[in-house]
Subunit: 448 residues, 2 copies
Amino acid sequence: MKQYIEKNKDRFFEELFSLMRIPSISAKKDHKPHMLKCAKKLVELLKKAGADQADVYPTSGNPVVFGQKIINPKAKTVMVYGHYDVQPAEPLEKWKSDPFEPEIHDGAIWGRGANDDKGQLFMHLKAFEYLVKTKQLKHNVKFIFEGEEEIGSPSLPAWVKKNKKMLASDVILVSDTTMISEKVPSINCGMRGLAYLEVTVTGPNKDLHSGHYGGAVANPINVLCDMIASLIDKNGKVKVKGFYDDVVNLSKADRAQLARAPFNLNEYKKFLDINEVKGEKGYTTLERTGIRPCLDVCGIWGGYTGEGAKTVLPSTAHAKISMRLVPNQDSATITKLFAQHFKAIAPKYVKVKVEPKEGGNGFLIPITSDAFKAASKAIAEVFGTEPVPSRGGGSIAVLADMQKILGTDPLLMGFGLERDTIHSPNESYLLKQFFGGMESIALFYKYY
Amino acid sequence: MKQYIEKNKDRFFEELFSLMRIPSISAKKDHKPHMLKCAKKLVELLKKAGADQADVYPTSGNPVVFGQKIINPKAKTVMVYGHYDVQPAEPLEKWKSDPFEPEIHDGAIWGRGANDDKGQLFMHLKAFEYLVKTKQLKHNVKFIFEGEEEIGSPSLPAWVKKNKKMLASDVILVSDTTMISEKVPSINCGMRGLAYLEVTVTGPNKDLHSGHYGGAVANPINVLCDMIASLIDKNGKVKVKGFYDDVVNLSKADRAQLARAPFNLNEYKKFLDINEVKGEKGYTTLERTGIRPCLDVCGIWGGYTGEGAKTVLPSTAHAKISMRLVPNQDSATITKLFAQHFKAIAPKYVKVKVEPKEGGNGFLIPITSDAFKAASKAIAEVFGTEPVPSRGGGSIAVLADMQKILGTDPLLMGFGLERDTIHSPNESYLLKQFFGGMESIALFYKYY
């Protein structure tokens, strides 16, 4: 495939950029038209790459793109999952280039979606195109690209249920995760779930003069801070009642297996420019993100946040709170437990509103399957080292659902790196990983 | 003066509105041109009202307006202090009318500055005009209007020092405070000071994917919440080391005197729509705002605050923290103590920046002076009840400085009411108070 890449590189970039230029931000309602535009562009690219059929399918939310090429009904069927929606680009002022005008420099593609997930799903299109054009394709291939992954895929499960037959396959191939490092390829064998809520604390019914009322009326920002501070104890344990009830504690042997993954704490701290890591007592950094759940405030706001010194005792304060869950923790249950807990700890001098925003379960992938072995062999051949099985800290909520509905295991062949800063300003994707990923995917089909 | 008001009412409104339409927001740098425009408008209005001299004086910040009419060098001199700058209008979406397009309805003037302080300083212009036009003026009158009160008057003290002679006077008359209620007129005999800082907590050097890092890296929002929560203990005491060192504890007799002010806790809670008040243990609501210092978060922000559910572990979190101080607490000292304390409690996994933004000392006013007595008599005549001496919770930082530099006591004849929601959306000023204030001021000159 190397030669094919070399010959078609410029066209590849132009095609990928045509996707990246569409600001398909699923979290923002006013980007609806971009979602359809992006879905149509994918249909065009699928057909161009060699799909026999490719269409935009409406759902209750953003449309799904489905396309396929059936070689032989008896052959194994690979279904590629990807998502064409992206995270909001904010904070915009931290971008060194326009998030929606992709660039190539410093050996990488730069822009929102360069990796997550436009860049990564694009590798599949091109590996498929290569196999079709060079007549090497021996599997049936299906593609499902959704437009709501970044908001927790609220519409996809229902659509998958309705189209179960059409989606029948032997493996769900996904590139939407990272490798441990450039030098240490890895395959995720598990991901965390998510429960995401927005909370609002209301004190007085209007913003007040902080001089006239300060000291006598509960300030909702102070109260929100008190409440958030009480959610995690000094050992890093989440204090939401029942939070750990369904967490499966890993055996010593399993933990030892995970500990084989290379990890350099000093490099990690240096990369983040922090003096010290912080997390649940009794667990390593990789365990804290791989096998343990956690709680983070993803956003907080209230009162005067502009320039200068406005003195105000505000009426409301808000926070967005995310909990990453481990397999066996149920997102809906945790969401309910959190809402109950947060209301229960609210002091009587404020009112509290809790709105669930997004959720999905974590899942595990068997590492003994044919597909896992084929992926391992392919990656080893391209990257020169056998990939380590790892546990991802992120969430692809819908994969647990698809695993359950279709009875098909996902396989996470992700080629991103931490340096890509997905979800953050200046998202990028190393060309080395982009092209190495394409090659690995093409080889996966060879070995599967 | 009643008749004069009746005859000139429409002109009064038009003149006041010409001030209110200028968005002279001192907290925002891009409003600089509006400050000068507003100062020039005041010079025009001063001359129109009868001042012999009125000019715009540059300072190191926003200009000061000074004007005067000297009747007789041997007569008593009243200096009127006011400020033409206003608070930012945010949150704009909560205004029922344009904050800078004043309206009159429901018996009140509506718009930013309706009360604070354009509406209140305007009463002085018109009482003065009335006395001049009707040849009743027997005092020398000086006017000083500044444009930085809402940001803590950083430039005025130096200007006052430089112009000490020009500003010589027997009393500094100020209308920039409230009365206890419509039915209970009061005169403030003390105000709180202020120390206002902005804090920034930095965790990792970039925004991170909350799945990849959540649970392993300290989240600056969670850390900021922990730190803020630790600033006030469960008895409502501020935990900043040394915070109460200079607070003078009032005697039982003094507290009993203050307790005479009428106060209805149920009405207070109903007005604010809160179930319970909250404050320092052992003190009443009026004491909590009148004679005790406090700490409030006036603003907080960090991470994703837009629509939907962006999962991010942000790099930074910010808060604006205000402390209201009581007389004898020094704002500069408290600012320093807070900065030290906040840095000292910062955990090792974050970096903390503390920026002082604004400050000023509280002060007390003797209630036995001729000026106080004249004001009391004037207000009693207009409002039908003798005014109660009260303690204001707000701050007019510069008055303590002027008291010190000029050796002249201020006198706080404020006619605002809590219902005016100054500093908040839908600021207003009851016409009854506006005109009653003008009459009271005119009578003050009669009795002083």
